[in-house]
């Protein structure tokens, strides 16, 4: 699998439900970041979790990181129609240069 590979590739849920997206990676990392991208638009930073952290919260977002399994998950609780977007994980594996390697993304659709 590629560095930063998300699953599922696409997810459709009803508004109000929780959405969970997963990301796997292959190398050691400095941190892992999640970004949202609305169709044809820029990348919006959601949350950063450092390699020595296991869980982080920000509003309706919850991110976990398991460095032993080289995986992360992003949970969006109480989803809203405005959450419809593509979600990417990105790993910072290059200590010092902060270069990010992006995954393939999960396309999330919230059905009103």
């Amino acid at each position: 699998s590629q560095q930063g590979e998300e699953d599922p590739q696409a997810l459709s849920i009803q508004e109000g439900e929780n959405a969970t997206m997963n990301c796997s990676y292959k190398t050691s990392i400095n941190n892992l970041q999640w970004y949202r991208q609305n169709s044809g638009r820029g990348l919006v930073h959601l949350i950063l979790i450092r390699s020595n952290e296991r869980e982080k919260h920000s509003g309706r977002l919850r991110v976990t990181l398991d460095t032993s399994k080289k995986s992360s998950s992003l949970l969006i609780t109480a989803s809203r129609a405005a959450d419809t977007a593509s979600y990417f994980c990105a790993t910072d594996e290059d200590f010092g240069n902060e270069k990010l390697t992006f995954g393939t993304g999960t396309r999330l659709t919230i059905i009103p």
Binding site: G42, L43, L48, D94, K99
Partner: protein
Amino acid sequence: EPEVTQTPSHQVTQMGQEVILRCVPISNHLYFYWYRQILGQKVEFLVSFYNNEISEKSEIFDDQFSVERPDGSNFTLKIRSTKLEDSAMYFCASLDRGNSPLHFGNGTRLTVT
């Protein structure tokens, strides 16, 4: 909140022409980046820039590409002779210090015809 700005939002050019994509990073940031995203594909790293020089570049960033920080505020990406496969969304990003989030601009959609 400060943001990274990119111009133009959309650039159409003919194959073989030179294009310059412009970015104004966040003012106190020290690290600058260009990424690209071909339609429907993942975001790919092109180049990073720190202390007025390229710190790393990808295989994509060949001799046709160059970056410059001509003054204290602008950061540009030049493609000397565009190819059809250069058509993509190009994102500029900046960073203030290590182990912190990258801030992206809204991108420039480059269409090469």
